[in-house]
């Protein structure tokens, strides 16, 4: 099946769990093609390095692959797949950055919060977003760019729903107050 495969992620995951080798490989390929760009976008939010982002992509799907038998016990989706992939993509990117020794001596917690630097020619919206705290920027991005619900964001970030709401509210307020994007916000 190609990119037009209409089977749900749940169906494809079920085939990866119990299908024969050929079926499972095809189902996994469909999942990969469907979510590859999302994982790459997540990686690029933390690093501008193309090769590191590709390493993170490979690591993320290797992690997913090993959830299925014969090594894994099988995967049960309790939320949409991007919700599961997000934290894996994020930590894979940070691991790749650490391995590449680009941030030698930087504390892991600080590293985890590092955003990719905005490009020099960044749009005002990028600059405004980059000015937010990493936690607020992350929630805003998941909500408005990735279209995750608040509950899904809470799962993806492994934080309470109330924390997500608070970060979203404060992030939006900060954006609305940013003079660089006043024109985009309307009267």
């Amino acid at each position: 099946m190609g990119p037009t495969d209409r089977r749900s992620d749940e169906d494809l995951v079920a085939i990866c769990n119990v299908g024969d080798a050929h079926e499972a490989a095809r189902a996994f390929a469909t999942l990969y093609r469907r979510h590859r760009d999302f994982v790459l976008r997540v990686a690029r939010r933390f690093t501008r390095d193309r090769e590191l982002a590709l390493d993170a992509l490979q690591e993320t799907f290797t992690y997913l692959l090993r959830k299925f038998p014969p090594v894994g016990e099988g995967l049960t989706l309790t939320a949409r797949l991007p919700t599961l992939l997000y934290p894996v993509a994020k930590s894979s990117t940070i691991d790749a950055m650490r391995k590449a020794r680009r941030y030698v001596g930087v504390d892991d917690e600080v590293l985890a919060e590092l955003p990719a630097e905005p490009a020099a020619e960044a749009e005002p919206i990028d600059a405004a977003l980059a000015a937010l705290s990493p936690e607020r920027r992350e929630v805003l991005t998941l909500r408005f760019v990735d279209d995750l619900s608040l509950a899904e964001i809470a799962v993806a970030l492994d934080v309470p729903l109330g924390t997500v709401k608070s970060r979203l509210h404060l992030g939006l307020k900060e954006l609305r107050d940013d003079s660089r994007i006043k024109g985009l916000l309307g009267p």
Partner: protein
């Protein structure tokens, strides 16, 4: 602010569009990575039939034996007459149940020596017909 309000809290569509466009501005196409991931998936899943076959071999003998015993019990219980019934029907003591036993029973009824009735003779006659196969005819 309840959950619904929070979900509805949003940005102007133009701003959302710009955010999305910016996030997707630098697509990465890398066939080598695609190939590496998909090849790894194929190799990974190819381990699966071997594992399944191993499990099948491990359980094949005991499962086969259990199935054979169960089948034998079912066959005997379904089709095999009770030994006590066969012994009672062997009226002439030949070790077989056949039409001669029905005749012997008829003779006993005629002599009024066994209390045999016409119904009993008829019943035995039907049973002899039903038993008329090599497997069930002989007594154990």
């Amino acid at each position: 602010m309840d959950d619904r309000d929070q979900e509805l809290e949003t940005l102007p569509p133009a701003l959302v569009s710009r955010l999305k466009a910016s996030d997707r501005a630098q697509p990465i196409v890398d066939p080598r990575t695609d190939r590496a991931v998909l090849d790894a998936a194929r190799a990974y899943f190819e381990q699966r039939p071997a594992a399944v076959a191993l499990r099948r071999r491990r359980f094949a003998m005991p499962l086969g034996a259990a199935a054979a015993v169960l089948l034998a019990v079912l066959v005997v219980r379904s089709f095999g007459p009770e030994p006590a019934v066969l012994a009672r029907d062997d009226v002439d003591g030949s070790g077989r149940v056949d039409i001669l036993d029905a005749f012997a029973l008829a003779r006993a009824a005629r002599d009024d020596a066994s209390g045999a009735t016409a119904a009993r003779i008829e019943e035995l006659g039907y049973r002899v017909v039903a038993l008329d196969t090599p497997r069930t005819r002989s007594l154990p």
